[in-house]
């Protein structure tokens, strides 16, 4: 009861926020932060187990483009096309990840194979420019009459804020579900020693595939949501290596092993980009990535657990030190 109280209060405050304060620009920034937080959380669900995928830009692109294409070309409601996008994303994930896991391609080998995936999704989008608009981008057609639940299009930012908040919260809940599940035990074990995990009875390929498909589908949902909210997508903003690396970067900065790490990462990176944009205007094009790049290198060298992870560890350390003492005397 007591443990839930702060969460409930924080949740209520977040839900109440747009009804009290609804200036369009801050609300827009918050929606963007929530959507990306969800995408980064999706990545970290598998990334935290050493399954470092650089293919998530591809999954995000699939989510965004499948949804938009089915709407424009087939008039299919996002309520139907988003599940199809998730299914497509899951299929691609299985196609690429299964041989990797079956033949034990792990670590940086896995990162490289998945890197090819995000590169190729970008190429496909560009190559099919007759249908997707290529690198110029793509706009889902506006539904007549503005906001529509059927078209999942809303003019007002408050609705989007609540949708994004709900999806983001679902992402955090999934994170905790994984954290508390036996799957976490299996994946922690696998990340250390696949043979020993198999000897304990763990079906290594299956467990890895499950978490990969989960993560890929969540990421595709983030892509679809981004598309519906922004009403404009381009290969560079929802797919490709840059987006994949951006996910890794934000998660590493925020903290890969903690539930809110990816969210913190999203807040920091997006606010940084906005501050640079507002203070320097168009002169600052490229400056945000410049700072990201340097920060990513610095974080990996000096603070690999991320800001939130590092803070939590620093807080836990005095306790751990006292807890370790009696054990030492026993030995």
């Amino acid at each position: 009861m007591k443990r839930w109280l702060p969460w409930t209060i924080a949740g209520a405050l977040l839900v109440a926020l747009p009804f009290v304060y609804n200036a369009p620009y801050p609300l827009h920034i918050m929606v963007v932060i929530l959507i990306w937080s969800f995408a980064y959380t999706s990545w970290s669900i598998m990334g935290r187990f050493g399954l470092v995928s650089l293919g998530h830009g591809g999954f995000m692109g699939i989510g965004a483009y499948v949804t938009a294409l089915l709407w424009n070309h087939a008039g299919m409601s996002p309520w139907l096309s988003i599940p199809m996008a998730l299914l497509a994303s899951a299929t691609i994930a299985i196609l690429v990840a299964y041989p990797c896991f079956r033949f034990r391609i792990t670590g940086h080998y896995f990162a490289l194979v998945t890197l090819a995936l995000s590169g190729i999704v970008l190429q496909v989008i560009t190559a099919t420019r007759d249908h997707t608009g290529g690198s110029l981008g793509y706009t889902p057609e506006r539904h007549q009459g503005g906001s529509s639940i059927y078209a999942l299009q809303f003019i007002d930012k408050e609705t989007w804020y609540l949708i994004a908040l709900g999806v983001w919260a679902a992402g955090i809940v999934i994170w905790y579900r994984v954290e508390r599940s036996m799957m976490r035990y299996a994946l922690e074990a696998i990340s250390e020693d696949e043979d020993a995990a198999a000897a304990a009875g763990v079906h290594v390929t299956w467990e890895k595939l499950k978490v990969t498909v989960l993560s890929a589908m969540m990421t595709a949902l983030a892509g679809a949501l981004y598309c519906q909210y922004q009403m404009f997508i381009s290969p560079d903003t929802v797919s490709g290596i840059s987006i994949s690396l951006q996910m890794v970067f934000a998660v590493v900065v925020g903290g890969i092993y903690v539930s809110l790490g990816p969210t913190i990462g999203a807040i920091i990176t997006i606010l940084l980009a906005e501050v640079l944009r507002i203070s320097f205007g168009t002169a600052a094009v490229g400056y945000d990535n410049l700072v990201y790049g340097v920060l990513l290198v610095l974080f990996i060298i000096f603070l690999p657990k991320g800001i939130l992870g590092g803070l939590m560890e620093a807080r836990a350390r005095p306790q751990a030190a006292t807890a370790a003492q009696p054990k030492a005397s026993r030995a």
Binding site: M182, Y185, A198, A199, A200, G201, H203, K327
Partner: protein, 250 residues
């Protein structure tokens, strides 16, 4: 319970195991010994699924298991330990064993897995403090954890790659007694792989000796220890060890 027939393994042109046959009866402790490179680890790995046999059959409870994936072998009821303990350091000691209890028995509830884990930890004599970390364990403790993980998978047959080399005399005896006690309390069948004879001879019902991938002797410890071929290829290099083995058996 386990019937191995004409089991062979070639690596390229090299024959590591050459048509070895043996059986293990229910509740038995079989010692599998041989010098380094004699093929005992290869046999062990073929039974546990890590290696696929080049020829021959491995029948466990009447069903063929040769070539099955390691996790399926575990789920069928064959638990294994690794010679060098391979704990999961990111999990606590208890969670290591809960993991084995959960997945080893083909996934049932976490509660049942926890109960199985606590039982296994009791059996090997490790505390089930949920916060105790693997890093706090010494060499003997790690071997106990390795054993507890295997036991938590509820095996009918335990493949113990013991290698007590890293332990002192006292710890060796403790480990041997533990295997004996486990058999007594659970009725598990055990294959104990070892490259030194020593304590093993005191515990096992039957010994099989391998050399260069072939079986050269099989029988009760006292009998095998007197076998001239065994003394020649195995103990002959170290007469003191042979004497020690003889006195222990006596």
């Amino acid at each position: 319970m386990l019937a191995v027939t004409d089991l062979s393994k070639q690596f390229g042109g090299f024959t590591a195991v050459d048509r070895v046959s043996f059986t293990v009866g229910k509740g038995e402790i079989l010692g599998l010994i041989g010098p380094n490179g004699s093929g005992k680890s290869t046999i062990f790995n073929m039974i546990s699924g890590t290696l696929t046999p080049s020829g021959g059959a491995i029948a466990f409870e009447g069903r063929e298991i040769g070539g099955l994936a390691p996790h399926r072998v575990t789920n069928r009821g064959i638990g294994r330990t690794f010679q060098i303990p391979r704990p999961f350091r990111r999990l606590s000691i208890l969670d290591n064993v809960i993991l084995a209890g959960f997945y080893g028995q083909g996934r049932h509830s976490k509660k049942a897995a926890q109960a199985a884990a606590e039982q296994a930890l009791d059996l090997v004599g490790l505390p089930h403090d949920p916060h105790a970390k693997v890093d706090g364990l010494g060499a003997a403790g790690l071997k106990k954890l390795e054993l507890a993980k295997a036991l938590a998978t509820a095996p009918k047959l335990l493949l113990a790659d013991e290698s007590l080399g890293g332990l002192d005399e006292h710890e060796m005896n403790q480990a041997a007694d533990m295997l004996k006690r486990i058999r007594r309390e659970t009725g598990i069948t055990i294959i104990w792989v070892e490259h030194i004879m020593g304590v093993l001879m005191r515990v096992v019902d039957r010994v099989m000796v391998l050399d260069h991938g072939e079986k050269i002797a099989e029988g009760p410890p006292s009998h095998v220890a007197r076998d001239p071929r065994v003394i020649e290829v195995y103990l002959g290099t170290d007469t003191q060890a042979a004497d020690a083995a003889q006195t222990r058996i006596a």
